[in-house]
């Protein structure tokens, strides 16, 4: 149905219309505002066709027939309160400037002609944003991202999966001030929408989300609070208003090693929480992430390469060593170093071993041994591994890696290794799903515009530039886009903007937006976004519902994290994931008398092996403790019995 006319195109010599911009006026009570999409119907045919132009309002002006404000002051004798007494209200205009979204016909591309202006209808919005090209039945690749509202009209806005998830374009970047939960909420909502509407013919999709602060992403499987307005948006966009059905959480252990280092440590939520622990093999490949470039020079680098190629994971013999070494863990690596350095000292073999200077060997030993200390809880000395299920990722599943409470080095290592593994598996097509969305918040920390060229930043740049061919899609978020390496958001096909800081909006990256659009961005309500997408000629504003998942803050209140657990409780909770019959008493009895390190090793081996009989496997991990027997103390017989109680016999 065609919308009623609510304005007319107007052009003057001072404000002419162009092929990309036009002006129109409306009545004072028209529902037009910044971001409103309008339709212009031309009055003269071009090549036999009446031109139709779609535009989005980017600026608004209001003025009266006064030439100078002083005239109004004079008119009211300087008394503003007399304005209400004016017999007539001055003639007033609402003049708007709109940027062209689309012209039909496309050719010849002419300045916007005079014509009538109407609010765009649902169909008009689809045409204006070129959504008609990807919403066709049978080849529909639309992913709902929100509702466009103008007056009483609401139109669904769709992103093209081909341009959001690859291969045409990919990646999404979202900017917005912190504290409004817009960025996280928008991503959670979009993931729901993608999981619901991702076209079947494009394959499967999973998401890996890095929880970098607080409990933001830790309750994705719990229902949140929605109001009627939210439900209406979910209904309109065809997305079920329910939490994610399949979510798995991963987090390293605390440095102590007893419990998992996450705010989602409530026992009621432990069923889908797994530890994230790596050993030497997992870490060495990414040692570069943890080693300071200034510290590890070419010589140290060469020695690390030597260790990786010749020592680790194979039997290594050398005359300097007291015995052959097979290094599979940081503990065994330390034994290797100790043996090597002692051997060099004992044999007085000089300062070099296999061309490597002893100082270099000592430096590398120091740096590598340090890793398990710096990344305690994630990296284990004994080599226990508990990892994401690379190779068996499941469709429509969210994998949350909680790094919020982890040291910065460990965060970098986790990030680098997980993404690299995803990439490796996607290249081999054996990840388990064909597309993975990686969500990274605080991008300004991982890929800053300035600062050192870190491994993590290089990897993010690589994903953003080449990931779309693999199905590796980066959803990134940050508070200040201007502080992020420009190639990351630059390669994002889709950009979302929540409420922005005025200082940020004053940076050159936002110069393409009109002052009114920037002002609107600075005052956006929660639940509103500005969207840029390859199909949209201009950014548009949409509303999205609250995500149907529990807010992190609510989750933390409803499921308070477990306080410092005793080792027996921590072990019980871990083993109960495998066998609900495990009791605290049984654990206490089993670990009584054993060292903490042995208990944790036994637990880790049990969790990694997932044996059929958990109890017996766990028990078998301990060395038998032979109970001590009381020693018979011989009773001394006095030589002579004493009289009375005088020991001196007086």
């Amino acid at each position: 149905m065609s919308s009623p006319i609510m304005g007319r195109v107007v052009a003057t010599e001072k404000k002419p219309n162009t092929a990309h911009e036009f002006h129109f006026w409306t009545s004072l009570d028209s529902p037009v505002g910044i971001g409103t999409i309008v339709r212009v119907d031309g009055e003269r045919p071009v090549n036999g066709q009446l031109p139709r132009i779609y535009g989005i309002v980017v600026e608004g002006f209001s003025y009266t027939d006064l030439l100078s404000p002083i005239h109004d002051v004079l008119g009211h004798d300087g008394a503003p309160e007399t304005a209400a007494q004016a017999a007539t209200l001055r003639a007033e205009i609402r003049l708007y400037t709109a940027h062209v979204l689309r012209q039909i016909p496309d050719e010849p591309l002419q300045p916007v002609p005079m014509g009538t202006v109407a609010l765009a209808s649902d169909e008009d919005v689809a045409v204006a944003l070129r959504m008609d090209t990807y919403l066709k039945a049978g080849t529909n690749t639309g992913i709902p991202c929100g509702l466009y509202r103008a007056g009483a009209m609401e139109a669904p806005i769709y992103l093209d999966a081909e341009f959001l998830m690859g291969p045409e374009a990919a990646h999404l970047n979202i900017s917005g001030v912190s504290g409004l939960a817009t960025k996280t909420s928008a991503v959670e909502w979009l993931l729901s929408s993608i999981f619901t509407h991702f076209p079947e013919n494009k394959g499967s999709v999973a998401a890996v989300c890095f929880n970098v602060k607080g409990p933001d992403l830790l309750f994705l499987d719990k229902p949140g609070t929605l109001d009627d307005a939210d439900h209406a948006i979910y209904d309109k966009l065809g997305v079920p208003a329910k939490p994610f059905e399949r979510v798995r959480y991963f987090a390293p252990y605390t440095a102590q090693g007893f419990s998992i280092n996450t705010l989602r440590s409530n026992e009621a939520l432990s069923h889908n929480l797994s530890p994230l622990t790596w050993g030497l093999n997992e870490v060495m490949q990414f040692a570069e992430v943890l080693l300071n470039r200034d510290d590890v020079d070419a010589k140290a680098d060469a020695f690390i390469d030597f260790l990786q190629e010749r020592v680790i994971n194979r039997e290594f013999r050398d005359p300097v060593l007291s015995s052959p070494h097979r290094v599979r863990s940081f503990g065994e690596l330390e034994q290797f170093f100790r043996d090597l350095l002692r051997g060099m000292e004992d044999r007085s073999s000089g300062e070099h071993w296999r061309t490597h200077h002893v100082a270099t060997i000592r430096k590398v030993r120091n740096r590598l041994s340090n890793i398990s200390t710096r990344c305690a809880g994630l990296v284990t000395d004994e080599g226990a591994v508990s990892d994401l299920p690379f190779g068996s990722f499941e469709d429509r599943t969210v994998y949350v890696v909680d790094v919020a409470s982890v040291e910065e080095d460990a965060q970098d290592l986790i990030f680098a290794r997980v993404v690299s593994k995803l990439r490796e598996h996607l290249e081999r097509r054996d990840l388990g799903v064909s597309h993975v969305i990686v969500f990274v918040d605080e991008l300004n920390k991982y890929a800053p515009a300035d600062g050192p060229d870190t491994y993590v930043r290089k990897m993010l740049l690589d994903i953003s530039e080449r990931g779309r061919y693999l199905g590796l899609v980066l959803f990134s978020a940050q508070q200040f886009r201007s502080q992020v390496h420009r190639r990351v958001p630059g390669n994002s096909g889709t950009s979302l903007y929540g409420r922005m800081d005025m200082d940020e909006l004053a940076t050159p990256g936002y110069a393409v937006l009109s002052p009114a659009t920037r002002t609107k961005l600075a005052t956006l309500e929660k639940g509103q976004l500005m969207v840029r997408h390859p199909h949209f000629a201009q950014p548009i504003f949409v509303r999205f519902p609250r995500p149907a998942v529990m807010r992190g803050r609510d989750g933390a209140e409803q499921f308070p994290p477990a306080t410092d657990l005793a080792i027996d409780v921590a072990v019980m909770r871990s083993l109960r994931q495998l066998d609900s019959a495990v009791s605290l008493d049984w654990v206490k009895r089993t670990i009584a008398g054993h060292e903490e390190a042995d208990v944790l090793r036994a637990r880790n081996e049990t969790l990694r092996t997932k044996p059929a009989n958990v109890k017996s496997f766990f028990e078998s991990r301990f060395r038998k403790i032979v109970p001590t027997e009381p020693v018979a103390v011989p009773v001394a017989v006095p030589i002579r019995a004493l009289k009375g109680d005088d020991p001196y016999g007086f």
Partner: protein, 287 residues
């Protein structure tokens, strides 16, 4: 194009002689609509030394609803060629008549003062002015026939008997080329202060309908010429003379209430009501 300044006698019908009356009471905007006319002239062609003038006359009523103005009915816009037809070549006259545009013979109504080309041009301008008054009157008559609301008419009302006798039309004249007071009476008029009116006089003319009229000072003239902020008001004559003063006070209050908003930036803002400025702007856009 203005008439020559003149003074005409007028009978004072409210008092025995001209005096000032303070308009008291709350100011009350009672006008429902504002009527104004406009004309546009240009010499379309010189046929030798004879000017052929193209004129556009228009009139519009801007009706006030909830303090906003919008156009009442349709504006009257007429276009015509004005030329001394008998002085044109026969072929040129024939071409003008066949152009499909109204042609007005300027010699039909009045003889030129001389054969000077500018005198002919002035004659054409006077003819355009007469047509403007005609469309204004026509529109005012329509208003009187269809509406009961009070009409503020920019100019005199005596040109039409219907309008001149209508109780719901008030004419407000800003120009004082013709004064209806002389001697002591003129001194009283020129000394009126803001919010004062003169006694009511009867204005009679052989070609026009008699009306009641008075002067009203709507803006402080201190430091300016004596006609600054001075308007002359015309309303229908009332047989009840005792009611004249009350009627003059009421209408004066209505006019004074139109001082807000000022008609700035129009240079005649001292005398002009904002509704009239709005009508002029409207006509400028449509004619």
């Amino acid at each position: 194009m203005l008439d020559a300044p003149s003074i005409r006698a007028a009978d004072v019908i409210e008092d025995t002689q001209m005096r000032a009356h303070a308009v008291s009471g709350p100011l009350e905007p009672r006008f429902d609509a504002f009527l104004d006319g406009s004309q546009l002239t240009l010499v379309a062609r010189w046929q030798g030394v004879i000017p052929i003038v193209f004129g556009t006359v228009s009139a519009a009523i801007r009706q006030r609803r909830e303090r906003r103005l919008s156009t009442w009915g349709a504006p009257l816009v007429r276009r015509a060629l004005y030329a001394p037809m008998s002085q044109l070549d026969r072929d040129v006259a024939r071409v003008l008549n066949e152009m499909g545009v109204a042609v007005v013979d300027t010699l039909e109504r009045r003889e030129p003062d001389s054969g000077h080309p500018f005198a002919l041009q002035e004659l054409a301008y006077q003819a355009v002015l007469a047509d403007r008054e005609r469309v204004e009157t026509e529109l005012a008559v329509r208003w009187c026939e269809r509406e009961r609301g009070v009409l503020y008419l920019d100019g005199g009302i005596s040109g039409s008997a219907t309008v001149a006798r209508a109780a719901n039309v008030v004419g407000v004249i800003k120009s004082h080329q013709t004064l209806y007071a002389e001697g002591d009476a003129l001194a009283v008029v020129s000394a009126l202060t803001t919010g004062q009116r003169s006694s009511v006089v009867r204005i009679e003319s052989s070609r026009r309908t008699s009306v009641a009229s008075w002067y009203l000072r709507v803006a402080d003239a201190a430091g300016r010429d004596p006609f600054w902020g001075l308007v002359r008001v015309e309303v229908a004559l009332d047989d009840d003379r005792s009611a004249l003063g009350r009627r003059a006070d009421d209408v004066s209050r209505w006019i004074l209430a139109e001082r807000l908003p000022l008609a700035l930036p129009d240079p005649r803002w001292d005398k002009m009501a904002y509704g009239i400025r709005d009508a002029e702007e409207y006509l400028r856009a449509v004619q």
